[in-house]
Structure formats: structure tokens, C-alpha cells
Subunit: 202 residues, 4 copies
Amino acid sequence: MTDAPAPPSRIERKRAQRVAELERAAARLFAQRGYDRTNFEDVAAELDLRGPSLYHYFSSKEDLLRRCLQSSSEEVLGRLRAIVDASGPPSAVLRSLFREQVLIEVRDFPEFAPLFLTMPVSVPEIRAIVLEVRRAHAAIFEEVAERVVDAPGPETMRVRMSVVFGALAYIPEWYDPAGRLAPDALADEMADTLLALFTARG
Amino acid sequence: MTDAPAPPSRIERKRAQRVAELERAAARLFAQRGYDRTNFEDVAAELDLRGPSLYHYFSSKEDLLRRCLQSSSEEVLGRLRAIVDASGPPSAVLRSLFREQVLIEVRDFPEFAPLFLTMPVSVPEIRAIVLEVRRAHAAIFEEVAERVVDAPGPETMRVRMSVVFGALAYIPEWYDPAGRLAPDALADEMADTLLALFTARG
Amino acid sequence: MTDAPAPPSRIERKRAQRVAELERAAARLFAQRGYDRTNFEDVAAELDLRGPSLYHYFSSKEDLLRRCLQSSSEEVLGRLRAIVDASGPPSAVLRSLFREQVLIEVRDFPEFAPLFLTMPVSVPEIRAIVLEVRRAHAAIFEEVAERVVDAPGPETMRVRMSVVFGALAYIPEWYDPAGRLAPDALADEMADTLLALFTARG
Amino acid sequence: MTDAPAPPSRIERKRAQRVAELERAAARLFAQRGYDRTNFEDVAAELDLRGPSLYHYFSSKEDLLRRCLQSSSEEVLGRLRAIVDASGPPSAVLRSLFREQVLIEVRDFPEFAPLFLTMPVSVPEIRAIVLEVRRAHAAIFEEVAERVVDAPGPETMRVRMSVVFGALAYIPEWYDPAGRLAPDALADEMADTLLALFTARG
DNA sequence: AATGAATGAGTGTTCATTCAT
DNA sequence: AATGAATGAACACTCATTCAT
């Protein structure tokens, strides 16, 4: 009864690509300057457009941010869940999660990661979205972490997880991809360091 | 050359107190809403004043933020340096630093800590101040940390320090002072966890 | 000198019909929301078109309104003049005019009547058109009315005519075609009431 | 327990006067151009101010209109009710109401009357206010009119009242205060004409 | 004929800042 | 010291209009 999902026409593909470009540009500016200090004119200028043109693709500034968050979170959470689904000893899975998260932040989605990690969002409705994504993100790590460690107290566990998330969130603030530490090396080093929080003798 | 420091008159003391109150109120709002979403009218309202009255105490909004940062950073860095100056084995000093930092964040300066840690500052000049304070803050920890650990590579050290700072910066984002974990307990737990990064067998 | 009026081709007829549909849709929205709050996108949507498509039929928004006014005023004025042209005692003609005007407003052209009567037009050029139509419209009634009444002073006449036009213009504001009073009954009642202004003993 | 109503200070009186001036200026423009075509800049310019300055007195454009409606409707309805309260034969009271209404429109509140009578309001919330005032306004006339006339059918009554309100609402559209007909003369003429709708032999 | 894309002009609104009182 | 008044700058958003396809 429902229409078969029509293959995207050439015009739809072009539009989708434009939206993706705009989201990337917007995410970069949002992360750099914060949501409030980022205006439509500047986002549009990144693609040689004028501000009001963005309204052909996004219904409002809030909508623009929402879509940045949504499309990137889907991708990121998908990748992390794929790792969890692959079998293996829990500690190996956890280490892979750490590595993947680092690579996501510094190599694959450097524009989007700060949106969830550090960008302050004053609009309450969007703040809720960010928190929800963070919760889903945290749940992935916590589920695996609990299978690695032999049950410390719940508060101890919470503190250790906070160290993990704090450390991961902090990466974009200090890591310089042009520096001596390659993304892969950072991923390994960080993964080992964080894994030790759960496997080392306390 | 300079005037002898005259003892502060009663009026001057009153003014200094007012400034301190305003700084605290402003810091609270800055941390809650971000710098851009915080306006003079609302800061002034916290002390039953109107917006323009703040110009008797601060020359601009930027100046207000700068002074919030300055007065709190002086206090915080002073307390941390005092711990370093007290003698003791490096690992004990490092642990005390961690504890102190946690207590500063959650018990003694909950209003000010987010200013350095998470508040996004788009004004470049102030961003520089924040970065400078962070650098001084980090230096205190790094100096001690280097005496604790038996020289891993510099990149390893950098990653570990980033875990420390990330974890410490993340605390205000998740810690609920009204929850089961008392500030002192959090301080101990966090101190132990972070110290293990440097003392545990790698 | 002019081209012989070629018979309208099928395409031309289709186009004329489309124009008429668009005018009716536009008139409805203009009357409902006012000229300023009515946009091309919404007018076009009534015929499952997009905004810019209207430029195939109208050269501007102002032109659209102008044509709404023109085509409806031609029809309306034509019908009223036809009544005047039919012979009969002046009071009977005047009564018929009142009836016809009421039926035009509530039954035959409910979309267009408010355009002349109540829609505010801020665009000066169009305001002039509306006023011109109103003048032609008024002239029809005044010519007959003057033959009915035995010459009261010109100011008295003017006041009475203003009552007539005011009352007629007010109808779309209060009359509910779905209510107890059928269009024909309203037309009779209103015609009698207005006619009494000119025939009753003063 | 409650504070005695403090006498308005000099500064409060000045502000109230300013608000009244702004309301009058705004009403004039709203009536002339309609709500949508009237912008803050132009309203402010009437008092040699700039647009944003109006936000010291009105919280929004909608608020400005709302206050125009409120303050004028209070005054107008008060004056009409005072006439009803004064004793006298119903037909004399009704005639006085008609006179007063005419004088309100053309002499005392020429700026405000069109707001209720002819200005189209697209903002639904304000439309409701206008309708509510119109209802209260109509109720005053209807109550007296019903005591004048010896019970025609309800529909006849409704039509006659619609003629009254239509005629009264139409006045600002055609009456020229600089013309031959003085406000008082118009008031008398109109009052007699409208009264005849209820007293003349049908 | 129809429209997706784009834009310039215009507008309501916020707010840091100035100044006279 | 405090503030009411005022404003310029900035910005989100709307919309009629143009144009290439």
C-alpha cells in the first residue's frame, strides 16, 4: 500500500549533500564559538551563501543545531554499538571502544564531537537532546565496563567512569592533530591508560 | 614611588564586598547560562540593582568576567601552591592536590570552577586569560607529577595528565552534592583513582 | 489596428481558468488574513503549486491583488448596473439593489466582497483602486436613491448613504451563512430596513 | 496590610504621559497602515525616538497594540455606560448613545476608534481582545435598544443593530472633520437617522 | 509550465553601553 | 551611588522576487 521507497533523485542527492556540508560547517563554528556566537550569516558564508539561504535547508537556527547533533550522533553511536556487538573478551571490547572513541574525535568527526562534549547549549530543549545522547553514549561504555571489572562499589564505578568520560571529552581541548602524537598513537595510549582504570590491581 | 597603601576606609571595604558579591553572582550565572546568555540586568538583579549600576563597579561586561576569573584564580592557585610548598613525598603531595582540587570545585568554589573548566568563552581576549590560568593550574600538577613517576615517555605523560585534567574538569558536569557521595568521599575516591595513573604498575 | 480577437485556444482557456482559481484562492486568503499576512507560498499551495509558480500568471503580488479586485468588481458592478437599467419605480429598483448587494456578499462572491469592504490595503496604489471601485459602486446606489427621496439636504443624504454603505459593508463581519437567517431572508430584511431610511416619514 | 496606593511620583507621571503619547501615535499609525505595515521605527519617530526605545515602555509590538486597545476601550465604554446609567426615556438614552459614539469617533478619540472598528488584526490573540470589546460595546447599545422598540422578531432586531454598528463603524472611513458637516451636526443627524430605525413605523 | 535555489530588503527583538539626573 | 532613558549594533527570521533548469 505504501509507496516503495523511491530512489533519491539527482536533485534530492544534491540537496542531501548540501545539507551535510552545511551541518559540517555549522558544527565547526558552533564548536569554535558556541551556539550563541555563531550566526547564520557566518555559517552560510562557509559555503559562499548568504544567511537567509539557510532557511531552505533548516527551519531555524535551533533546527540546524538539532540536525547537526542528530546526524552525527547516529553515526557515532552506530559505530560504537557495532564494536560492542562484535564478540570478544570484555576488556578487549572496552579497549576497542576507547580507541574508536578517540579516533572518532580526532580523526573522523573532529567537527561534531565537541558539540556533545564541550559546546554549551543554553537552549533548554536542545540541552535535553545533548544529555540524552550523552546518556546513550555513556550506557554503551558502562555496559561493557561492568563486565570487565569485578564489582567495585557503585560509587567507585561511577567515579572511574567519570574519569573515562572526562578524559575523552577533554581530548579536543588539547590534542593537536599536527603535533608529534599521531591519532592512532593517541588512541592506543589513551585506550591503555583508561583500560588500566578497570584492570589494574587497585 | 607608589602611594603608601592607605588602610581601606569603611566605604572602600563596603565597595570591595559589593564587588565580591557581584562577582559571585555573575560567576554563578555565567556558569549556568554561558557568558553570552548572561546579561547585566540579570546579574544586577541578584543584588536588587539595575543593569547600568554595574558600571560603577566594572567597566564592561568583559571586565566583569575578567575579574571573576582573576579573583577566583588567585585564590585557587594560591591554595594549590600552598600544598606543593608543604613538604612530603611527591605522591602524597600529588594526592593532596587532587583532593584539594575536588573540594575547590564541589565545596568551596562551585560558582567559579566552571568558569575555567567548561564555560565557553568566545571573546578571544578572555579566552587567552582562561588558557593562561589553565596553564598555570596545569603546571602545578605537572611539576609534582613528574617527581612521582619514573619517567615514561613525554607523550605518555601528556596523555596521563590530560586524563587527570579531563576528569577534574568533568566533575561539575555530573557530581550532585546532594547525592549519596559526600564531597570528602568523592575527593578521596577521585584522588586515589587519579593517583593510580602515576603509581600503578603500567 | 488591434489583432482580430482570435478564439481562445484550449491552452488559453485552461490558463484563464487557472487564473480564476488563483484569484479566488487569493481573495479568500487576503480577506481572511489581510494582504500583508498572505504570502505567495500559501496562495500557491491552495492549488498545489509552489510560490514562484504564480509569476507565470501574475507579475507581482500587487498585480495579483489588483486582478482580484478588477475581475470581481467588473462582475459585481455589472450586476448592479443591470438592475438599474431594468425599468421600474425608483424605490423598487433601490430595494432590488440592496437585495442584490446582500446576495453578492453572502452568497455569490463571499470571497471577494471583503476585499472592497473591509480588507485594509496599505499599498497606496491599490488603495486608490479600491477607492475608485467603491466610488463607482456608491454612485450606482446614489443615483437611484436620489430619485427615491424627495430631496433632503445634501448632508442628510450623505449621512443616510453612509448608513447604507456602512451597513452593507458590515454584513460579512457578522453574518453566519450557517445560522438561522437564510441569505434570502437576510437580503429581504436588510433591503426593507435600508429602504425605510429613504421612504419612511422623517 | 497592603501598601497605601502611593501617589505617583513626578517620574512616574512623566512616564505615564510618555506612554499615553506613544499609544496615541501608535494608534494613529495602526489605523492608517494596519498593524503589519506599522513598524516600531515609525511609531518611535513620531516622538523623535528610535525603534528599540519603545521597549522601555512596551514589551513587544503586540503589547503596544494591546495597551492601545485597553486604555481607549476603558475610556470609551465608561463614557457610554455613564449615559446608560443616567435616567431618561429609553429612546432619549439611545439617541444620546448614538451622539456620544459619533463624537467619540470623530472628535474625542479619532485615533483609537478605527482600531476597534476597521483595523484588521491578524494576530489571533489580539483579535480576540478586539472582539471582546466589540461585544461589550454592542451590549450597551443592545440593552437600551431593546427597551425602545416594541419587540420585532429577534432576527429583525439583529439586522437593525447590524445597520447601527455598520453605520457607526463606517464613519471614520468617509467623514472629513474639515468638511462642511461639523462633528456636532453629524452626531445629531446620525443619531436621528439611526434612532428612526427603532422608532419609525415599520 | 513549474520549481529549487538563492537573495536583498525589511522587521521585531536583545543588549551592552552612555548619560543626565 | 543609582537609575531611567535612550540608542547603535547585531541577529533571527520572513518574504517577494529572480533565475537557471
